[in-house]
């Protein structure tokens, strides 16, 4: 039986960690975080002889591999009779590389404000698991026989994030989620500091993982152990917390805003915050026609409702969709003839209040 693989993506944005260490009533600074994280990683390694681990760090503007049990560093740690050698290796390698990366960051100062490359790290984690899957299949000679490649059993990704959503990375995040589904990889997410993130909630939900918004930051290790340590096989017996409410909102392709009501191109399913005559993704002038009459009716109905208070980031949701914004990527103000095609339309993406309730039992 194979061990389970865990890829951890950690958000190491110095500015966010600074804010986290000042936050009341449960401050958590980066050194306390790393020591608890190392205990968690060691617990994973100790869990089973065959367990494997990879750690990816997301620094502002770049992401790197911090530790991988597939290719351990050449230098072995010094002799210690009191510490299990594989665990010592994890600890020393991780600390060394984190410090190294943070130092290079301070040398190239000024870049500190760049958002942390969480998506880059996530993509790297997926590529890494894909590589393991290929190796696994090569070993069982399935690939050469032309059989369906087997998914790596019990592999998962854990994202530990402290940054808010970067709306610009909506498309890469969704693509990562789809690849994770295809690889049968579970994505767990833990938002340690900062606002709830929409994208990580969706990632966890769509891949069958667990999303936790950490309220008691002083109990980080206990949260990590109880919710994220059990491999998928154990989760059939011990439940892990899942979300009651999932924010299913998407970001529009035109302005990268998270929107409540969006307009979807009938050809390529691109999402826009405002109706556009020409889809900027697929450029299908003739087919992308939004039914403006339906829209007007919808809008009339919407205006009678109070605007939803739970969407603070929804600042640029269109109040009147008919008005064409100057920033739309459309080049031509194509006249929309009567009889808009019935297969294009607007969808409400704000599912969180209607059917997003999913309980753990």
């Amino acid at each position: 039986m194979a061990g389970s693989h865990l890829s951890v993506v950690i958000d190491l944005s110095p500015s966010q960690w600074h804010l986290s260490s000042l936050h009341q009533p449960y401050p958590l600074d980066i050194s306390a975080f790393i020591s608890q994280l190392l205990a968690f990683l060691n617990a994973h390694i100790a869990f089973k002889h065959e367990n494997t681990l990879a750690v990816f760090g997301a620094f502002p503007g770049k992401s790197t591999l911090l530790y991988s049990s597939a290719d351990p560093p050449a230098e072995t740690p010094s002799n210690d009779a009191n510490y299990f050698p594989p665990l010592k290796l994890v600890d020393s390698t991780m600390m060394h590389r984190i410090v190294q990366n943070l130092e290079t960051l301070t040398q190239n100062n000024g870049d500190d404000k760049a958002p942390s490359a969480l998506v880059g790290a996530l993509t790297k984690a997926l590529c890494y698991i894909n590589r393991l899957t290929l190796e696994f299949n090569a070993a069982t000679t399935n690939a050469t026989e032309g059989l369906e490649p087997l998914a790596l059993p019990d592999s998962r990704i854990l994202i530990l994030s402290v940054s808010p959503d970067q709306t610009a990375s909506y498309i890469p995040v969704m693509n990562s989620i789809f690849s994770a589904q295809k690889l049968k990889v579970t994505i767990d997410a833990c938002q340690i500091y900062g606002p709830d993130t929409v994208f990580l909630q969706q990632a966890a939900h769509l891949t069958g993982g667990s999303y936790i918004y950490l309220e008691r930051r002083d109990a980080l290790l206990q949260y990590l152990t109880m919710a994220f340590l059990p491999p998928p096989s154990v989760r059939q017996t011990i439940s892990v917390p899942t979300q009651d409410k999932i924010d299913f909102r998407a970001a529009c392709f035109c302005h990268k805003n998270i929107i409540d009501v969006g307009f979807v191109c009938s050809v390529c399913l691109s999402i826009f915050c405002q109706p556009v005559p020409v889809c900027s993704t697929c450029r299908q002038v003739l087919l992308t026609k939004f039914p403006f009459k339906t829209l007007q009716r919808l809008n009339a109905a919407r205006s009678s409702l109070p605007s939803s208070p739970s969407q603070p980031r929804n600042s640029s949701a269109p109040s009147s969709p008919q008005k064409t914004n100057g920033r739309t990527p459309s080049r031509t103000e194509a006249p929309l003839g009567p009889g808009g095609l019935p297969h294009s339309g607007s969808i409400s993406l704000n599912n969180s209040t209607t059917n997003g309730a999913i309980s753990s039992r």
Binding site: M1, A2, G3, L38, A39, N42, A43, A46, F47, K48, H49, E50, N79, D80, A81, N82, Y83, F84, P85, L87, K88, D91, E135, F136, A139, T140, T141, E145, L147, L150, P153, L221, Q222, T225, M226, L229, P230, P231, S233, V234, Q236, T237, I238, S239
Partner: protein, 480 residues
Amino acid sequence: MPSAAHVDDIDDKDLIQISNKPHALLPFLQLQSATSLSRLYQSPSSCLSIFRLLDALERQLVMNLLWLESAIAQTTLGVWVFQEKKKLYDDALDMLSKLHILHIHSAKLSLNGTFKTSLRHAITGGGTTGSFGVPAEKDEKRPPMDVEGLDAYALERWETILHFMVSSGTGQNPTRPSQGVLYLLQRSGLMSNQHGSLPQITSAGFQFLLHPPHAQLWDLLLQYLHMAEERQMDLVEVLTFFFMLSTMELGREYLTENLSQTQKAMLDDLRDYGLIWQRRPTSRRFSPTRLATTLNSSSPSLPTGASTGAGAASGSQQQQGFIVLETNYRVYAYTDNPLQTAVLNLFVSLKYRFPNLVVGSITRDSVRRALNNGISADQIISYLITHAHPQMRKFNPLLPVTVQDQIRLWELEKDRLKSQEGYLYTSFASQGDYELVRDYAKQLDVVVWENDAKRCFFGTLEGHANIKSFVERRGVGGDY
């Protein structure tokens, strides 16, 4: 890479069975007293190894409780468990408390204090117990044995033992393992010495040969533990040393100085089994082999496990599996390993041998010979499954159903007659007498067979005393 995820039903079922069975060492540990266990738990490496031998659910429960300072209510942990899996959870708690890892006190759960401290030390480092072995400084003049050398050494030692067992009584004279190993084999009942000077393999020994290598190793070590008890060795020290070995690093040398007297004495035995390597018997350094360092991997050693001791211990050929079985009962084994050929010879009648291929067929006679040796049909089938050639893995089910069924039928054939000791009650004076005694015996549920026409019935051995006194009482009473 293990072949766990195969599409085969039987394979899956076997794996589930394996995963549900607790590790062979755990029942032994349960028998130990609380004091010896708490002495054992003082060493972080022992805690870590025992932790790894536990079931996945038990491991998760231990981890959940590890970082808590105070006891928590049983219900608090219970709500995390799915209702329909409650039994697994209760079993897990039961197992942990039998091992004295978990204290259940007035519906509150807490970990054994010693175990908790040691496991925390194992995971975070620290402490001064030195339980992971004191590594030796690099010696420039005499570099340590490399990993390949250690693997070859362990393999050679282990196969010597197995080959000696399998070829005993066949007239061949393989290399004899050392006296200590022979003694262990006899003590454990795997071989017996009654038929003369040369030890003969017993039926337990035949079954042992078909076990996966990892289970074989633990079987022998368990026997060693039983023997240690008789030799007045300190069991805790023996166990601590096993666990220390299992957490050591392959290809590194360790010093013998910090070992206790018992543990130093064990070095000789373990060298014979191929668990450790020493340059000279008196050397102050030793290197654990792969057999030792994978002791705490709880996974069954599948033949494809290139990175586990199993793969090394059973030959490089076996890493991919080597047996092809056809529906016409033909067996093609791509191997030139004498041990594997000898094991196959237990239940296959071999026909041809080529440099890398052995051909034979499974016949009624060959299977019956194996059955008479005490090997069961299931063991034959599971051996064939675990060692199936990759080409075979494309089929579902993996082994031809006809062959599987036939092997099972041959086993049933053996069980056509069942013998039972007992007494035959005959020559009753009247039908009334007969019915009275028979009905009494039926109430006791001791009647095996009856024949009303002949007025006789057969009762079991246990019922005889009762029936006899009943008949005597009735006789004295003079009712008839």
